[in-house]
């Protein structure tokens, strides 16, 4: 398990380094912020429901309930996942969305390691995908001259 954790740190450390190289400090969108409260409130209710559901699930899955430390660890990872999801859903800066996805990936990889999955292939895949996303976001920022996703409104879905 220790080797898996070290591998995880290396993979996502490399991804973070690559992201930092692609996004210079001044372009990390620190100036953008959400002034709307309703999305945050909705998210808070959603997060509470997920945490309660995760707690109930971990208590009732015999494999996890047999080791109390796993319950605590997986709950911590659930909180980290929700923090990452908050950054993706609520924050409008491309850079923050990327960091949010990174936090979510690390949380999910941690969940796999806690389950005993030691291959490390998913960590490698996750790191590669994040770097590729950072490259794409860099191109979008260069073309649109903005980090604010609310300004990327050419397509309506």
């Amino acid at each position: 398990m220790i080797l898996s954790v070290i591998w995880l740190i290396i993979m996502f450390g490399a991804a973070l380094y690559a992201i930092a190289r692609i996004f210079p400090f001044k372009d990390r969108g620190f100036e953008s912020s959400s002034k709307e409260y309703l999305p945050g409130l909705v998210f808070a209710v959603f997060a509470l429901i997920v945490l309660v559901a995760a707690f109930y699930l971990f208590l009732n899955l015999p494999v996890i309930a047999a080791k109390p430390i796993l319950i605590g660890l997986n709950l911590l990872l659930t909180v980290a996942f929700l923090i990452g999801l908050y950054l993706v859903v609520i924050r409008k800066s491309l850079y923050r969305i990327l960091i949010g996805l990174l936090i979510m990936e690390v949380a999910v990889e941690g969940f796999l390691i806690a389950a005993g999955e030691h291959q490390g292939l998913t960590a490698l895949i996750g790191a590669v995908m994040l770097i590729a996303l950072a490259v794409l976001m860099g191109k979008v920022q260069k073309t649109s001259q903005t980090q604010d996703i609310t300004k990327l409104e050419e397509l309506k879905g």
Partner: protein
């Protein structure tokens, strides 16, 4: 045989690598190499037809070829061949074509890998490889709209992948393995809570990959912004291989189908069918109209397969095959129209039936096929799905399926009316290159031939896939005992 099976994954990967290394090679060598590889992959399937046996490789890279994976391989590689022939003259610049081929073959490697993977980790690996290639192919032209569409697709695809990974984590917590055949044998069928949570996570993850409503909102932008050959591949193959196939394999062969799942799948299918059909009616961009139509047709497939009756599942699988060819034909026609007339806005087109008679004929065939008009292939698959709904006692679902066909016909008649009939709009129309015409003719011929020989096609390709789904979680026993 095992070498041929491995070549389905390593040949496209090697081709992508070779094309990257041989950047300065002559265009004719590069084009021939690409088309011959695609022809080899399609031809290899003739020797790999597995029914009734299952072909298994267990060491290092677990692969399983059975009737269901064979059906998807046939769809993916045959459509890829036609798209490659089309793209020979769609992309004028040799550098552009080479860049397209590299990403395209990476995507094809990923799709073949997803369909053959015998282990959830490798399924995930190949799924991400195909998805990554798809994201960069959507952004291929590099404009702001294309980049925005690719970004949206990428972010939502990543969130979907995370849901899938959480599902994998839960499965590993429960069973200690991610091998599909082992899981089919040991997954605890009475762990209702865990099974429900895993099912919801996979429905969200793979449902987003398949563009099932309410996870569909990335598809219209992505399929519209991509070059037409890419749109054909995305609508015709990717959403089926990465979304529908993976969902089917896990739900039927690992978790096991249940009455609750049947309700969820049929509801999602019916809603996608209606919403996709209604939204396609109000579009004026040909490709956006076709993209919404894809959402509707995926609804048909999921509805049919979700019924879990023999006729319904057969209809759903048959529509999986038919839609790939019909939608590839329609998107390639849209590309031909855009190339010739310089626009795909229906309000700026008109009279193309006189100036582009071949494109008109092939678009008409595609329209009739996808609307379910006999004797084309779409009629039979939709007919079986409707019969499947009646067989399951779901009269309302049958009516929704009929309504969906009417909406589809209305949407595509709109294309016929504005693009082909009526007065010409005055813009000069260029001729469509030969390789593009050849692909359109071949796909049109297939739509008619499959319709006329539907019994044969069902016997050869659909029934083996149906048997795989019918065996349910016995999949594990069959694979582990197979050769």
């Amino acid at each position: 045989m095992k070498v041929l099976l491995l070549s389905l994954i390593f040949a496209p990967l090697a081709t992508a690598g070779m094309l990257w290394l041989l950047k300065k090679t002559k265009p004719i060598i590069m084009d021939s190499f690409a088309v011959l590889t695609a022809a080899f992959l399609t031809g290899a399937l003739v020797f790999l037809r597995p029914a009734p046996n299952v072909l298994v490789i267990r060491n290092y890279l677990p692969l399983v070829l059975d009737g269901l994976s064979f059906l998807l391989l046939l769809i993916a590689n045959a459509v890829a061949l036609f798209i490659l022939i089309y793209s020979l003259q769609y992309f004028k610049e040799a550098d552009t074509r080479q860049r397209f081929y590299r990403w395209f073959f990476l995507m094809l490697c990923g799709i073949n890998g997803v369909v053959l993977a015998g282990d959830l980790i490798f399924l995930f690996l190949f799924l991400e490889l195909a998805a990554l290639s798809a994201y960069f192919l959507v952004a291929f032209n590099g404009g702001s709209k294309e980049l925005e569409a690719a970004l949206k697709y990428f972010i939502l695809g990543e969130i979907a992948s995370l849901f899938i990974l959480i599902g994998l984590g839960l499965i590993f917590h429960l069973t200690g393995t991610l091998n599909l055949s082992r899981l089919a044998q040991i997954f605890p069928q009475n762990a209702y809570l865990a099974k429900s949570v895993i099912t919801v996570l996979f429905l969200a993850g793979f449902g987003m990959k398949a563009a099932l409503v309410p996870f569909h909102f990335w598809l219209p932008d992505a399929h519209t912004s991509a070059p037409s050959p890419v749109s054909a591949m995305l609508s015709g193959v990717i959403i089926k291989a990465l979304g529908v196939y993976a969902l089917l394999r896990i739900i039927y062969n690992v978790l096991g189908i249940s009455p609750q799942l049947i309700s969820i799948l049929t509801t999602l299918g019916a809603v996608s069918l209606l919403i996709g059909g209604l939204l396609s009616l109000v579009q004026w961009d040909i490709k956006r109209l076709m993209a919404y139509s894809s959402i509707s047709q995926i609804g048909y497939i999921v509805l049919g397969i979700g019924l879990a009756t023999p006729l319904g599942v057969m209809g759903g699988l048959f529509h999986l095959l038919n839609h790939a060819f019909m939608k590839a034909l329609l998107f390639l026609n849209a590309g031909a129209i855009e190339k010739a007339a310089g626009t795909r806005d229906l309000r700026k087109l008109g009279g193309l039936a006189r100036t582009l008679p071949l494109v008109y004929a092939t678009t008409l065939i595609g329209t009739l096929a996808i609307s379910g008009i006999p004797p084309f292939n779409g009629f039979w698959s939709k007919f079986y799905i409707i019969l499947g709904c009646l067989q399951a006692g779901q009269v309302w679902l049958a009516l929704i399926a009929v309504l969906g066909s009417i909406l589809t016909l209305a949407a595509y008649l709109k294309v016929q009316k504005h693009a082909f009939w009526g007065p010409e709009q005055g813009t000069a129309v260029k001729p469509v290159p030969l390789s593009m015409d050849l692909s359109l003719i071949a796909l049109s011929f297939l739509c008619l031939a499959i319709g006329l020989a539907s019994a044969l096609v069902i016997g050869w390709f659909i029934n083996p896939a149906l048997m795989v789904l019918a065996q349910g979680t016995n999949y594990g026993r069959i694979v582990l005992g197979g050769k």
